[in-house]
């Protein structure tokens, strides 16, 4: 090194600087961890197909923390600005970070690692979407000291197949959300023969499984299943495979997120204007948070819900909606949206669980998390959403219809009340049966627990009239 002369030494200065920065970062991640603080992470999507739901998810969770755990939102317009003052059972709760997924598995897992390992969260509320939840369920299995409460994901696997003991879901999966809607198509619309088009991935299959099981269970026949890949540029060749409108009574339309508009446009350029009476969709037909672009042409169409019940006039619903408006009214989002509702219930359950465990985490929190929780849009079981043995919700569902709202714009209206839908559809879906897929489940007649118990809902009031 003697040969190193003059100003060349300076070259090492950037390295010294980098070393200091690295040491500082490392030290800061060490120092920040204080034992009595409960560290909470909220995971949602800020990019990709569901990027628009980011603030809704965070808002839902934070409203519950504000209502039940003394939290104060930094901004009532922008939930992701943060929250202070959360205290549960005498323990301060810190939101250590918000996960930003993009509806893909790799980002979900690296965000989860960032939140749980770098930021050292003890508990996660999230994620938003199905494949993300599958991945995080596997992660949860390997990290039994952490607790995961699914935000609003609709895949079956996390609780039916993988079912880690530290993962909870206080809302239905994609199949549950559609329970009753197939029966409605059979009874109310009089469909007997229908075709289905579904996204070719796990949420599309799960969502379609609910409609197929329900419709076929009532006696209907699915004559054609078409499955376009996600993010298809041109849906025309797929739509072309659907039987012409004259050949079937209707279509189940399970193309969602960003595909609803393009696929319906492809339908219109193949067969002319959409006849809302020949279309039954899943939640994506009137996705209040964005994607509502297709709703105008679907006024009158029925669709499966999202576990939510916009316009339901029960005390629980009113209380929930008032709570949301109280904390995030100025943000201007639709509080009946299940992105908000499901995250709200998840956070609410967490507050109850932590209170019961006295702030203890891990196994004692898992044991303390409520096996049933009072929820705004739950009517059966005394207004309590109950968890099954896999920690998965048994919840009421509400088939809905797109109607013209008072301002002339499309609005969601609930038309039916399907009490207490469980994940297995009364034993129809099993851990051992093939998971929903392109040709699963088969189309068979089957009597589901709610068949014959679906009540009509008029003006937000559940009537005694049975509609399916």
């Amino acid at each position: 090194m003697g040969r190193l002369r003059g100003r060349r030494w300076r070259i090492l200065l950037p390295f010294a600087a980098m070393a200091i920065v690295a040491a500082a970062i490392a030290a800061s991640s060490l120092a920040a961890h204080s034992a009595s603080v409960i560290r909470l992470a909220i995971m949602s999507d800020c990019k990709g197909a569901f990027g628009g739901a980011y603030e809704l998810d965070i808002g839902g969770a934070e409203a519950a923390l504000a209502q039940y755990a003394h939290g104060k939102p930094v901004s009532s317009k922008k939930p992701s600005a943060g929250m202070t003052g959360i205290t549960i059972a005498g323990h301060p709760v810190k939101i250590v970070g918000y996960g930003c997924g993009n509806d893909t598995v790799p980002v979900a897992i690296s965000e989860t690692k960032r939140l749980m390992e770098q930021l050292k969260a003890d508990i996660m509320i999230g994620p938003l979407s199905g494949d993300e939840a599958v991945t995080i369920a596997h992660y949860a299995q390997k990290h039994p000291t952490k607790t995961f409460i699914i935000g609003t994901a609709g895949s079956q696997d996390p609780t039916l197949q993988i079912a880690p003991k530290n993962m909870f879901r206080y809302h239905g999966d994609g199949a549950q959300w559609n329970a009753g809607t197939g029966i409605l198509a059979y009874k109310k619309l009089g469909w007997r023969k229908a075709a289905i088009i579904m996204d070719d991935y796990s949420f599309g299959w799960t969502s379609a499984a609910g409609l197929i099981a329900d419709f076929c269970g009532a006696g209907g026949k699915i004559v054609k299943r078409v499955f376009p890949p996600l993010n298809t540029t041109d849906y025309a060749p797929y739509v072309q495979q659907l039987p012409a409108p004259s050949k079937v009574d209707g279509y189940f339309w399970v193309v969602g997120g960003t595909g609803t508009g393009p696929s319906l446009k492809a339908y219109e350029s193949a067969y002319g204007k959409v006849d809302p009476k020949k279309f039954v969709g899943n939640l994506f037909f009137f996705f209040q948070s964005g994607f509502a672009d297709v709703a105008p042409r679907l006024i009158g169409a029925y669709y499966g819900g999202f576990g939510n019940a916009p316009g339901l006039k029960t005390a629980g619903a009113k209380q929930y909606e008032a709570t949301m408006k109280k904390w995030f009214g100025p943000a201007g989002f639709n509080v009946t949206d299940s992105f908000v509702y499901n995250y709200f219930n998840a956070a609410h359950a967490l507050v109850i669980g932590l209170t019961k465990s006295g702030g203890a985490l891990g196994a004692s929190l898992n044991a303390s998390l409520p096996r049933s929780i009072k929820a705004g849009y739950q009517v059966s079981n005394g207004g309590q959403v109950k968890l099954d043995s896999n920690r998965q919700a048994i919840a009421d569902q509400y088939p809905q219809q797109i109607v013209k709202g008072p301002d002339g714009k499309p609005a969601a209206k609930i038309v039916g009340y399907v009490p207490g839908v469980d994940q297995s559809f009364g034993g129809f879906f099993k851990k051992t049966s093939p998971p929903p897929g392109r040709s699963q489940p088969p189309c068979v007649k089957h009597k589901f627990p709610w068949a014959g118990h679906i009540k009509a809902v008029q003006n937000g009031v559940i009537t005694k009239k049975t509609i399916g």
Partner: protein, 365 residues
């Protein structure tokens, strides 16, 4: 070749093999689609001519849209050797701009308007505004980021990747404008009422969308306009000369920088025009940019970079293979085979490139 091949020359056979395979495959595909096609959705074309015609038209109209978008990409590449990885982002932003303009022209914001409320101007003005705006952004991009590093292919591609990352994030952060919190939602615009209907073609009783046929017409019009511009005007001649030999054109005393700027603006505007069309035809969302960057790349790779005829050929091949493979692959149960169409499409493209690395109409590297 003057000398006849006297003995059996296996090397010759190997060299001719690609052509033979290509011809054989094409013939087989034609026979399959026209006369055979067992256990497919529609059966052979002779049994179901209507479905064949619709598949064909779907392919042609999609090819037209692909041509509009990809011709811009090809123009920029051909002249400047810039692989503009921000092309998809230009399309995406163009689509959102067209949406905003149409919203403000019709009911002043809110949800999608019905085509019955939309006249030709309500469609054309948004498209023109989008094209102009993106043309401007293209100009800035070219002047600020690409002008001073001509010839550094990879560096320029990387710069445009960075720009595309920024644009994509900015779109999600700010669009749609009227939404306060649900940014990054999918949006679509409406076709004018006059073309948003079906027309009876009087062939096999097929009813077909006028909007899609208009799209086909627009693609042809863009193609003719580009051809006239490139082959019948002075600027066009300079551009073609530039595609052939940049140094020489520059040495002839032409101000090549002005030509570059013009070509970049036109290329970016074509992306935005394609975006405006796509927003009416399917709608845009934050994943659209990647999709269309890929579509453009595939079209120009297959067709041959920098060739307008290559772009036509690439768009036709890609769109037709895509459409026909979805409809005419056999379906033997739930897990086979129609859904493998995207895989098949790309395998085919890889094979085209394996035998003609420069694309169908491209010159060797």
């Amino acid at each position: 070749m003057r000398r006849a091949v006297s003995a059996f020359d296996w090397r010759l056979l190997v060299r001719r093999l690609p052509v033979g395979v290509a011809v054989g495959t094409t013939v087989f595909a034609l026979v399959w689609v026209l006369f055979w096609a067992p256990s497919t959705n529609f059966g052979p074309a002779i049994h179901s001519p209507a479905n064949f015609l619709i598949t064909l038209l779907n392919g042609l109209t999609l090819a037209a849209l692909m041509f509009i978008v990809a011709s811009g990409f090809s123009l920029i590449f051909g002249l400047m050797r810039v692989v503009n990885m921000a092309h998809g982002s230009f399309l995406l932003l163009g689509g959102y701009i067209a949406y905003e303009v149409q919203q403000s022209m019709t009911n002043g914001g809110g949800l999608t308007v019905f085509s019955s409320q939309v006249n030709a101007w309500d469609w054309l003005v948004p498209a023109i505004v989008a094209a102009a705006a993106i043309g401007g952004i293209g100009l800035v991009t070219q002047q600020v980021f690409l002008r001073w590093n001509m010839g550094q292919d990879l560096r320029q591609a990387l710069i445009t990747i960075a720009i595309s990352v920024i644009i994509a994030d900015q779109v999600v952060a700010h669009f749609p404008l009227e939404s306060s919190i649900e940014k990054g939602s999918a949006v679509n615009t409406s076709w004018p009422g006059a073309i948003d209907r079906l027309v009876n073609l009087h062939i096999a009783g097929v009813q077909y969308s006028v909007a899609r046929l208009t799209m086909l017409g627009l693609g042809v019009a863009v193609g003719i306009a580009l051809w006239l511009w490139l082959y019948r005007t002075k600027t066009g001649m300079v551009i073609r000369a530039g595609v052939d030999d940049r140094q020489m054109t520059s040495a002839l005393g032409v101000n090549i920088q002005v030509t570059f700027a013009i070509a970049f603006v036109v290329g970016a505007s074509l992306a935005a025009l394609g975006g405006a069309v796509f927003t009416s035809y399917a709608g845009v969302n934050p994943t659209t940019d990647g999709q269309w960057l890929l579509n453009s790349l595939v079209v120009v790779i297959v067709g041959g970079l920098g060739s307008i005829f290559g772009t036509v050929a690439g768009a036709l091949l890609y769109a037709l293979v895509y459409n026909f493979s979805i409809s005419y692959l056999p379906t033997t149960g739930g897990d086979c085979c129609g859904q493998y169409s995207p895989v098949l499409t790309f395998v085919l493209l890889a094979l085209v490139l394996a035998f003609r690395p420069q694309g169908l109409f491209g010159r060797p590297a």
